[in-house]
């Protein structure tokens, strides 16, 4: 056993917290991510992660808990993106890009002012990659409650979301408030992404949002199964990633441990490649493709 689990793995407090919170984040990201992939909002999902980190460096500057900075900026950006029109596919990516560009500019300013006041050059790096092993216990309950809220929103809206992602017109004809559903989903996405960004950084946040969901949509035969499969893949990637990162403490070349983000990203992308390169596309993939085609036809119209 010691070859797999380094001595001390099961008794280490930070590892327990990392695994527990990581599991919650992985499940939320995966379930929310299934709709992100179906709706073609990967760029928005990633941008919200980057934008919420801007809130993190802003909160650092004014001296409040970073967690609230992440949430506030994520939610604010989602509202703004909805306002300036993220409904049309192509215009949506441009609007997202402009909001992201402005937020990154703000991040540069905040980080500059941060370094003026406290001379921490490493802060930009922490913001990008997060740090799983430095969770503060005080934010854990708030974090879990917000994650559950985002998860519940998506699960409750699942049917109408799927319908309105499939065909806006049919959904509208059946009396679904398409725009309101889309806005609620974007808000849930923002909250879930902000949470994962604060803990595991914007890189892993995007990896866990898109990777497991895209893999599951290629494998599973129905959207519900895709959500379950995605959650499973996400949790497995986090657990194996944390174990490997813990083990790697004695690996060459530096003897300081390899980053968790490297392992989790490699596992997630590797899993996707296996599903991607499978010779025969599954029925779900064909169905998903059909959904995408319908959606594209709708957005083009």
């Amino acid at each position: 056993m010691h070859y797999i689990f380094e001595p001390g793995f099961f008794t280490s407090g930070p590892v327990h917290v990392a695994l527990g919170v990581g599991t919650v984040i992985a499940i939320t990201s995966a379930v929310v991510g299934v709709f992100t992939v179906i709706r073609g909002q990967s760029f928005a999902g990633h941008s919200l992660a980057d934008i919420s980190t801007t809130g993190g460096s802003g909160a650092f500057l004014v001296g409040i808990n970073q967690f609230w900075g992440y949430l506030a900026f994520g939610a604010g950006a989602a509202a703004f993106m909805e306002m300036i029109g993220v409904q049309r596919r192509r215009g949506r990516d441009v609007a997202t890009g402009v909001v992201l560009g402005a937020a990154l500019g703000l991040a540069a300013l905040f980080l500059y002012l941060d370094t003026q006041s406290s001379s921490t050059t490493g802060v930009s790096f922490t913001v990008l990659f997060g740090s799983m092993f430095v969770l503060t216990p005080s934010t854990v309950p708030a974090l879990i409650v917000s994650a559950l809220l985002a998860l519940a929103t998506v699960v409750v809206l699942a049917r109408v979301l799927l319908l309105s992602s499939l065909s806006t017109d049919i959904a509208a004809a059946r009396g679904v408030p398409v725009r309101a559903v889309g806005a609620a989903y974007l808000m849930a996405l923002a909250v879930s992404v902000a949470l994962s960004a604060v803990i595991i950084g914007s890189v892993l946040s995007t990896a866990l949002l898109i990777g497991p969901a895209a893999t599951a949509l290629r494998l599973a035969r129905s959207p519900v199964r895709a959500m379950a499969t995605a959650a499973g893949i996400g949790v497995a990637a986090i657990w194996v990633g944390v174990v490997l990162a813990y083990d790697s403490y004695y690996w060459p070349p530096a003897g300081r441990g390899w980053p968790v983000s490297f392992f989790v990203v490699t596992l997630v992308v590797g899993g996707y490649l296996v599903a991607y390169l499978r010779p025969r596309p599954s029925r779900a993939a064909a169905a998903a493709q059909e959904i995408l085609d319908t959606e594209q036809a709708c957005s083009a119209a």
Binding site: V37, G40, Q41, S42, F43, G45, H46, S47, I84, R89, R90, D93, V94, T96, G97, V98, V99, L100, G101, A102, A103, L104, G105, L106, A107, A108, L109, L111, Y112, T121, G122, S124, F125, L128, F129, V203, L204, T206, A207, L209, I210, G211, A214, P253, A254, R256, G257, W258, P259, S261, F262, V264, V265, T266, V268, V269, Y272, Y276, L292
Partner: protein, 265 residues
């Protein structure tokens, strides 16, 4: 300061041109992913003791190939997201192996526009000229496949091959611009001016010229203000991009309203 002006001007021209096509094609995500992901290459190069430009070039080309390759049988936003996180994951590994990288990472993300050395100007100009020349050579097919992909396919222009060519030029442009203005700023400089230009005019060549002009004004004004205030250039460029975009949108909306009023009167 002379080096700063020359390098920044070259960067603005290339960002204006590349950004115009990125916005037209809707490949905004790739415009974000390639410059940002390429930073991993610089980390790898510094680990091996190579010139950062080599690492940036290798990783941005690898990123372009990854995005184009994975887009063959999947949606391009998923392909872009996964290629991007993989590049950054490898970057995190490289950074964890090296010891004195944090400061350099900061300058690659946010740029070092006031620290352009004499020897850096020539490679930037050469790579910039090559990127612009590449865009000019494939100008017509690229324009057609960006604006009307179906018509282009009917005329025998492969959308997929055009996408790959465009991403490769983006990769080339990126490896030259990232050391000067930083990955984050390069992205804002591509998207803001081009998006504003597009809402100001529907004529493609005019929109491209406007995009370059707005990018130049943004960078020049940004450098002056940034030099005066000592605040980072990235902040001014990002803010200017958003302001130009909103102004362009406002102008387009006002023009539409006037047209409607003229039609109903």
């Amino acid at each position: 300061m002379m080096n700063t002006w020359i390098a920044a001007t070259a960067v603005a021209v290339i960002a204006g041109v590349m950004g115009f096509f990125a916005v037209l094609r809707g490949s905004t995500f790739a415009a974000h992913a390639i410059p940002n992901g390429a930073f991993a290459g610089a980390a790898g190069a510094s680990l091996l003791g190579l010139n950062a430009l080599v690492g940036l070039a290798v990783f941005s080309v690898a990123g372009a190939l990854g995005i184009a390759g994975l887009s063959r049988r999947a949606r391009s936003d998923v392909a872009t997201a996964l290629t991007f996180v993989m590049m950054l994951g490898v970057g995190a590994l490289f950074v964890s192996w090296s010891t004195e990288y944090a400061q350099e990472a900061y300058s690659l993300l946010f740029g070092e526009v006031f620290g352009v050395a004499e020897g850096e100007v020539l490679p930037i100009l050469v790579l910039g000229a090559v990127s612009i020349a590449a865009i000019l050579v494939m100008f017509r097919p690229l324009m057609l496949s960006s604006a009307l992909p179906e018509v282009a396919e009917a005329r025998g222009i492969s959308t997929r091959r055009m996408e790959l060519a465009f991403l490769l030029v983006m990769a080339l442009a990126t490896s030259m611009t990232v050391p000067v203005v930083g990955a984050l700023l390069m992205f804002s400089l591509m998207i803001g001016p081009a998006a504003a230009a597009r809402s100001l005019t529907a004529r493609p060549v005019l929109a491209m010229a406007l995009s370059v002009a707005i990018a130049l004004v943004t960078v020049w004004a940004g450098i002056v203000v940034s030099y005066q205030t000592n605040w980072p250039l990235g902040f001014f460029v990002g803010a200017a991009g958003a302001v130009f975009f909103l102004a362009g949108r406002g102008y387009a909306a006002a023009r539409r309203r006037l047209a409607v009023r003229a039609a109903t009167a």
